[in-house]
């Protein structure tokens, strides 16, 4: 069947894709690994003919930077907080949606809405909701506390300085967690609801005949049969979490932190983009490879765990 004319044609049709992939995907993979192991590689010096030793100097250098450690801690913290919260919440919403008939399509549409948004733009809305206007130096008075604090005060709580100057680290993290979870829900609900709807109704009918309690139906039928989707949502959630960047830019701006404390909330991806224009490609490459290694490791662990746990 394989005639030479078809061969020739196939490669012709594929050529634009292959050429672009070679230049912008394959070469970067090779080159990034190369640069990461050239100690202290700097693009500017390299054009003047500087040569570099092969070694792991870039990696030790990056890991020694205090800024990088901040980024690593922030990234890990946000991922560990947001992935379980958003997954559990999405699971509850999906199960609830699946159990109702009237309004199901309507509510499903509402829950998908945040997916089709610009994370910078809506981040600015969240900033407006948490922002305090005209905070006095004593921290006890302000012109406007912002809608979130208004709600807290309505229920008798104390207003919190969420994102303004002199705000606490954990307040910042709380705001980021809320925003990232809000942003992550639609995709997870979509996938989990799709999974729920494809579960065979016979299992539930059998449980009904046996008079199985609701909770047991959930833990023994719904969760096991949904486990492949849960694993998928978990893995993509972790990968997304480690690449967190633009949601922070949305709320805190390009300085990645509250006024007076820039880069406090910087992440690993943010770090790579921060060092890139300084032509320190060796360091940036090492940071990118570390990010890749972490993502790969977490994905492998997740897959290993889900192999044991996933029902089928």
């Amino acid at each position: 069947m394989v005639d030479s004319k078809q061969q020739w044609k196939a490669w012709l049709y594929l050529s634009p894709a292959i050429i672009l992939l070679l230049v912008f995907t394959v070469w970067p993979i090779i080159n990034t690994v190369r640069l990461a192991f050239l100690e202290g590689y700097n693009a500017l010096e390299a054009t003047w003919g500087a040569t570099y030793n092969v070694g792991i100097g870039n990696f030790t250098k990056v890991l020694g930077f205090r800024e990088f450690k901040t980024c690593l801690v922030n990234t890990l913290l946000l991922t560990v907080l947001t992935v379980p919260i958003s997954t559990i919440l999405a699971l509850l919403i999906a199960v609830a949606l699946n159990s109702i008939k009237p309004l199901q399509k309507f509510l499903q549409t509402i829950f998908f809405l945040p997916y089709v948004t610009n994370s910078i733009a809506i981040g600015m809305v969240f900033a407006a909701m948490f922002n305090i206007i005209g905070l006095r130096p004593d921290g006890l008075n302000a012109d406007s506390w912002g809608i979130i604090n208004n709600v807290i005060m309505f229920f008798g709580g104390e207003p919190i300085n969420w994102i303004n100057a002199n705000s606490g680290y954990w307040a910042n993290i709380a705001v980021m967690t809320v925003y990232i979870v809000w942003n992550a829900l639609p995709f997870k609900i979509l996938i989990l609801l799709g999974g729920l709807q494809s579960i065979n109704k016979q299992y539930y009918d059998a449980a009904k005949v046996d008079g199985t309690p609701r909770r047991r139906v959930f833990t023994r039928i719904t969760v096991p049969l949904l486990s492949p989707m849960l694993a998928y949502v978990f893995i993509t959630g972790f990968i997304g979490g480690f690449k967190e960047y633009s949601s922070i830019v949305g709320i805190f701006g390009e300085k990645m932190g509250p006024v007076g404390d820039p880069y406090r909330l910087n992440t690993m991806v943010g770090y790579i983009y921060q060092v890139l224009p300084d032509t320190d490609y060796g360091v940036a490459s090492a940071a990118a490879l570390i990010l890749f290694a972490i993502i790969l490791l977490v994905t492998l662990i997740n897959m290993q765990v889900s192999k044991k746990r996933v029902h089928y």
């Binding site: 394989v2 078809q6 061969q7 044609k9 196939a10 490669w11 049709y13 594929l14 634009p16 894709a17 672009l20 995907t25 970067p28 993979i29 640069l35 693009a43 919403i93 609830a96 109702i100 509510l107 829950f111 809405l113 997916y115 089709v116 610009n118 994370s119 910078i120 733009a121 809506i122 600015m124 809305v125 407006a128 922002n131 305090i132 206007i133 005209g134 012109d143 406007s144 809608i147 208004n150 809000w182 829900l185 995709f187 996938i191 998928y232 993509t236 990968i239 633009s246 830019v249 805190f252 390009e254 006024v259 991806v269 983009y273 890139l276 940036a284 490459s285 490879l289 990010l291 890749f292």
Partner: protein, 296 residues
Amino acid sequence: MEKNNKIMQEHNLQSVSAQQSVLKIVVKAGTYLFLGIMALIVLFPFYWMIISSLKSLEEYRENIPTLWPRVIIWSNYAEAFTEASLGQLFLNTAYVGIVSTLLSLVITVLSAFAFARLEFKGKNVLFAGLLATMMIPGELFTITNYATINQLGWMKTFTVLIVPFLVSVFYIYLLRQNFLQIPNELYLAAKVDGCGDLKYLWKVMVPLALPTLISITILKMMGAWNSYVWPRLVANDDAHRLITNGLRNAFTATTGDVNYPVQMAAVAIVSAPLFLVFIFLRKYIMKGVSRSGIKG
């Protein structure tokens, strides 16, 4: 005695089923309550964005916020439009979005056709290799691509915003799967009739795979609209800036005493096209997304 027992049993059964139906109603009500509250939380930021964009600055700064603007100030929108020069940004983004979507579609259709219909040496190896690149995070490519772009002299051009992202392995994969569902007999029949590959592709394959192509188009356009990191790195000048960057650049301050009504108006303008796409083309987005897991 026996009769009595039976009546007792029946009575018990009845009260059990009555209890169950009460429980059922309570659970239903709880479910709706939970979904209603969650839906309100999800919608609240949009509501806040819209009402804030219509308030006067004085009203926005009031100690106890109003839940609906007392006086609607439409001029916030005009002010936002000029302050962030949204017109120019809109044109830039539309240009990049349309050109990159069209070129990307051509490349994707040709590649998917080759993988789905043609036989050539190394086909499976090549396809597996392409799929493997999907696992690598994009940040790994950025560093070298930044250097490559610098060497090619593409900094601050539209080319740099279009060319590096023309090929999406995921879209090729998606379309190939779709093409494979089209029976091969159609292709062979067309060949017998002397119909060329490209004509067949255009007249048969493309119309049959239209839903997938629409999904790809929407996701690609949304990608241009929402892209932030790469454009900021390589083309952040007035002539080439895209809309998301423009929005962030025009309103650098997020906290403190900001003119929020105007800022929220700008955010609403930037969000509006996305909402329109959502309302009219939601089906295609959901279909594409549920198979990808990639945002934008």
